[in-house]
Every structure is written in C-alpha cells, then in structure tokens.
Symmetry: C2
Subunit: 407 residues, 2 copies
C-alpha cells in the first residue's frame, strides 16, 4: 500500500486557500471569476510541474493527464471542483482536485508506472452560485446538459453569459472526449456530521440519495390584525406554520435516512399588523431509496392539502426538480472499501447527502467516492474545517484505488 | 332626530377619492405628499363654503369650526384623517372627516344653532406610512408626543423631515389650544367583518383593545440540507413553525376577543438547501382587557421558550410596543347608543381592534366612536368598500350625537 505526503497535500490546500480568501477564514472563488481563474492557473502550474499533459474542453473542464504505458488506453479518472460558494470553505471541492494531484506527485516520487493513464479533472461550476445549474461541467461531459445551453446561461449577479466568461478567461477549450474513462473516483469532505460523530476517518460512499425540490404556495386572505376575529381568518402563515411543523415531524418519524428541510420562506405582505395573504416556501426532500422518497413526497402533499383545508387557504405544491437516487458501481465501491481496510483505516459505508460531480460521472463510467470528516459537519460555510490527518488518509485511499484500477 | 344627506356625503367621498386614486380603485394619499395636500385644500374649501372658520396647528391638524352661541365655550369635536395607506381605500379616515363636514352642512340646511361650537378636525399622519409613529397629529394634540420630536421624524422613503414637509406645504400652522374639547366623537369604517356578519349598520364603540407588539428571534445552526441527519439539526424555522402554530392555536382557544397575528417572518439564509440558522418573526397580540392581554403574552412567552428547547434553538422575545386597552367615556358611549336607537338603526356594542385618533383624544376629553360596516371587513386595501346607506346612517348618528352634546 502507498501513502501520500500529508504535509505537501496540506500546503497545497493552504496555498490554494489564499486565493479568494475571506475575512472569516473561508473562500470565495465563484466559477470563472478572476479569483477562480487564478486558482485554475495555480492548479495547472502544479500539474505541469508534476509532468502532466493538460487539456481543456469547451465547458472549461481541466484534464491533467499522467500517461500510462498502454497506448490509447482509457483513463482512470479522479477529480472534483475548484469553485466555491460565496461564503464557502477551504475544502469543499478543492480537496478532491488536490488529492488527485497529490496522488500523481506520490506516484512520481515512487517512480511508479501504470498501464492506464491517470487523469485529474477540475470540473467547471459545480456550485452553481453564479450560473445555474450546478454540477455543470460534469453534466456537459456526461452528456446530461447541452454545451450550447450551458454557454448561454446568464450570471445571476451580472447577467454575463457563461460562454462569454469562458472566452474572456481563456477556458473555452477544444479538447474532445475520445473515450469514456475506465473508472471515476472522487474524494470529498462529507459536508455532514456522520463520520465525525462515529469518529471514523473514511466513508465508503455507496451512492447518492435522491432529491425532490418542492415549492409550496399558499393563498389565504389579507386582513387587519386588530379587527379580524380569529375564526374569520384565512391566515396563509398559520396554514404554512402547521404544514412546516407537520412535514418536518414526518421527516423525523418516517425513516432515519430521510432528510426533509424547509430552508426558504417568503410571506406577503410581511407586515406585522396584516394577516398574511400569501406564503411561499421550499421543501427539500431526500432519501437514498426511490420508493421511500416517493412515499415521503406523497405524504407531504397530503399534509399540505389537509392543513390548507383546515385553515381555509388554498395550496399548490410544485415539483421544481427531481433526481432519482444513484447507486455507485459495486466493484468501484468494493475497491474503495478494500483499500481503506488494507491501509488499516476505520471506515463505514455512507450515502452522499449532497450532489457531486461523481453523480454525473456515474452515468457514463463505473464510479465511487471517498468521504473524509469535516469539523462539526459544517460546509457551505466559511468556518468549514477538516483534519490534515483525515485529508491525507482519504488521499491515500484514493492513491491506492487509482493505482489498483490503473495497473 | 335629524338625518344627513346621503347623496351629498357620497358625492364628497367620491370627489375626495379622485385625489390620489389608484388603478385598482383605491387611494394613495400619504401624509403631507402633494396628493394629500390637494385633499386637505379641497376639504378646507368645502369647510369655508360651509361657513366654517379654519385654523391649523403646528403639527398640521386642520380645525374647521362652526361657531356656537355661547362665547368662549369649549368645542364639541369630531374628526379623523385624510391620509391613507400606500395601497389604501376610499373610506378609512376620510369618512370620519367628511361625515363631520356633512353634519355641519346638515345643521346649516336646517338652520340650527348650537350653544357650543362644533369642530371638525383632520388629524395629521394617522397612518404612519411615511413618518412613524402613526396617530401623530392627535398624539401631539393630546400631549402624548412632543411637537419637536414629531417634526424631526424622517420620511421612511426619502429621509425628508416631517417639519420640513409641514413648512413646504404651508401646514406648519400657529393655532394654539386654549381649551380641551367638551367631547370628541369619531365615525369610522369598522375595518373588520363583525358588523357585516351580524348584518348591522352601526357599531357603538365602547373602547379600543390593548396591543402588545412582540419580536421573536430564534437562533439555531445553519447546515447542509442533504447531509445533516434530522436528529442532529438545530433548525430555527422548525422551532419557529411550531411556535407560530401553537401561538395561533392559543389565540383561537383562549378567548373569543383575543387577536393573535404573526404577520412578519424573516428566515436566514433563506436558501432551499440550507437548514435555517436564524428566524425573526413578529407577534401582534390584542385584547380588550389588560389582565387577559398580559396572560396571553405570558403564555406566548412560555410557548416560545418550550418550543425553542424542544428544537435545540435559543429564543429571545422582545416587547416592541405595548398599549393598554382604552375604555371610552360612559356618557359619550351612551349618547351614541341612544342616538342610534332613536334613529331606529339596529346596532351592537363593539370594541375597536385598530388604533384611532379617538384613542389619543380619550386621554384629554370624553370620547366615543361610531363604526359602520365595510365590505368583507376589508381595509388597508385598495378594494376597501362601504355601503352609501350605512355611511349616511353613521353620519346621522354622528349628527344627533354632536347636536345633543352641543345643545
């Protein structure tokens, strides 16, 4: 078994974290901004120093290739993303990219040749904070999203097209995809508290849960807070509060793997002395199994209908987006499990709660992921943190998995 | 018993409603804007045509006086306001002013002299939509608010001082108050649905309920919607939804006269895929009796504490404002009741849910109010509507009450 260089990995992470550093110790490198481009250039410089051949495709994905001994063999691929949330952390995404680079540096140190080439990829715009949808570069790569549609997407802050930003920054590349990868592996911080709570350095990611994004609109009737008797009200927020309380209670009760979140609520006219006439809120529903996910959504819709009726309001529940659960490739998952075990690291199987580029890759290639803990499960937050030891352990698992796969 | 001229009252209301008319049939005459000043000038023109003497005080209140026969006798006063909400109706406030004018016109028609003078007042800035607090002109008049504090208040839209707007529009008057009024009566639309539901044209207003304005701040912990297990969350919106549902349920159960409203809610960061870390919401609590009002507030605070604990959040409940209930003068209320009965109008006693200039007047003079129904109880809404017959009936009650009081 091989091990990566913990100090070198940490130094690279901290060097990258200086680009777009925020006051509270986090990072802001929104996709294709000058900061993110500076990060891309640093990554490319490091890859060249490690002897890699660089290619950029039309959506700006960066492929850094360490050649194998067999001519025209498909690549064993790993990667993640360099862009961050507006108030993001130092590890979400960038860890998976620099862990891949650290594997290549380690293989160089050991002077190991592989039969298949190894490619480290930095996927464009995983976060979707400037341009929706997120996971864009991997979606285009896997054929899930049309390149012209992606290039036409406007920046939510300035309106500039993504295609124009690719052109401006020099990342509208021309590389084509001759072959699908032999396999794809992605190392990532967990972004949740499960591994930390279990005191385990490695999560063997078996798949990603399915997601339904719902939008609930309740219409009641605006009236005067002081003059309208309680029994004559059609209070949209009263209906909403009862729905939200019941929906989240269902999430607690129905199954330990269920995740139900109401993260967004808007109330109209939102005036203290007026009974709300309209409320709009989001529901984010996730579960690893599709039948349970659909059961959850159906029960949520029933709760909304019943509560609206109770409070004299009307309700409309729209499905904004729906993603089925993804099961990663059995052999790839088993390879991660075995490498972890051989390295002597305690681990558990885990299902990814978040979406990752690996989900898109799983549609075109055998795929698996490796999770490491992050402090207090905190992510999408400037206070996001991770233990250098855990980060190195995850990268060592990645190294052995890539080596096995590429031999 | 005397009766007012229904058609003349309606025509004056509709003439006034053309000033600051909105697309949906409502009115926008914010205090001391050009539109409201145009309304003031029209009212003053009508008062002069009715033979009244006009005075304006330093806060811009307009006093239109029909002299009595006794020298230096205190005035029997009535009035309300000409300013409206931004998307206001054609009757809130303006009805009370023009009903007073219609009484004077009717007394002129009948060539009736009174011992005491009768004054119709248009109070400045009752709505508080440009300058807080509302009920400002009557508060200054009754000594509840210092004139210099009032003049220094900035416009919430432009920042201009109220004193400068008084100066600009010519309504920084010099009239002083030699005497408190003998009594004050205010006619107003109910702004709620009680009279309409009871099918009654007149409400004998016995007082105004007390009001507590509370602000609740809940702090939980932001985390990722997809990765944080339900049992490890500190969801501020889950705590808020359970509080709001319980608080409103309490409002329904505790007493038929209770009014509990959550009209305003803000959620942070208000992102669909992030568990809310902070929620702020308002509670508007009203009741005609102070002990019950205090009991309600105490129980609401207990609910907030308990629900916060259940959901692992912290909570802070601040009292933003507190007004004790007001009981109007027994003799004045009885005078309204008797005039209504003598006119043969069905009526009921009612407690005002909203604040009115009459509440401020009640601190310095015997006071009562007369309510007429408004369509569907709707007010602070461009669709606010009222029946010309009811409006005339309310004005006839006012006419007889003023005449009795001024004889």
């Amino acid at each position: 078994m091989i091990s990566v260089n913990q100090d070198r990995l940490w130094r690279s992470l901290m060097d990258m974290a200086r680009i777009g550093a925020t006051a509270k110790g986090g990072n802001c490198r929104l996709a294709l901004t000058d900061e993110e481009v500076q990060g891309r250039r640093l990554f490319m410089q490091w890859c060249e120093e490690a002897g890699c051949e660089l290619r950029i495709d039309p959506i700006g994905n960066i492929f850094a290739r360490r050649d194998g001994t067999q001519k025209d063999a498909p690549a064993v691929m790993c990667g993640s993303h360099l862009d961050t949330q507006p108030a993001g952390g130092r590890f979400d995404g960038v860890y998976g990219v620099l862990a891949g680079l650290e594997v290549i540096r380690t293989l160089n140190d050991l002077d190991v040749s592989t039969r298949y080439p190894i490619e480290v990829v930095a996927w464009t715009n995983e976060e979707g904070s400037r341009f929706t949808p997120g996971m864009m570069g991997s979606a285009v790569y896997s054929g899930k999203l049309d390149i012209d549609v992606a290039r036409a997407r406007p920046c939510m802050q300035t309106g500039v097209r993504l295609g124009d930003e690719l052109q401006r920054t020099g990342f509208a590349g021309t590389a084509t995809y001759a072959q699908v990868p032999k396999a794809y592996f992605e190392a990532h911080i967990e972004q949740g508290p499960i591994l930390e709570n279990a005191n385990l350095p490695i999560g063997v990611v078996t798949g990603a849960q399915g997601i339904y994004e719902l939008e609930v609109t309740i219409v009641g009737f605006e009236s005067h807070a002081g003059t309208t008797p309680m029994n004559l009200r059609k209070d949209a927020l009263e209906a909403a509060a009862n729905m939200i309380a019941s929906i989240l209670d269902l999430g607690h009760r129905i199954d330990p793997d269920a995740r139900v979140t109401v993260g967004h609520i808007d109330c109209y006219p939102n005036s203290p002395s007026t009974i709300p006439g309209k409320v709009v809120f989001s529901i984010d529903v996730r579960h690893p199994q599709q039948p349970m996910l659909q059961k959850l959504v159906a029960e949520i819709e029933t709760i909304c209908d019943q509560r609206a009726m109770t409070h004299g309001a009307s309700v409309d529940v729209q499905t904004v987006a729906a993603y089925e659960p993804v099961a990663f490739d059995d052999q790839c998952v088993q390879r991660v499990r075995q490498a972890t075990s051989s390295l002597g690291y305690p681990a558990m199987d885990i299902c990814s709660g978040a979406g990752h580029d690996a989900v898109n890759l799983s549609y075109v290639a055998p795929t698996a992921m490796i999770f490491v803990p992050c402090k207090a499960g905190l992510s999408h937050n400037e206070l996001e943190d991770a233990d250098p030891v855990h980060l190195a352990q995850g990268a060592s698992v990645l190294a052995n998995v890539l080596l096995d796969e590429a031999m």
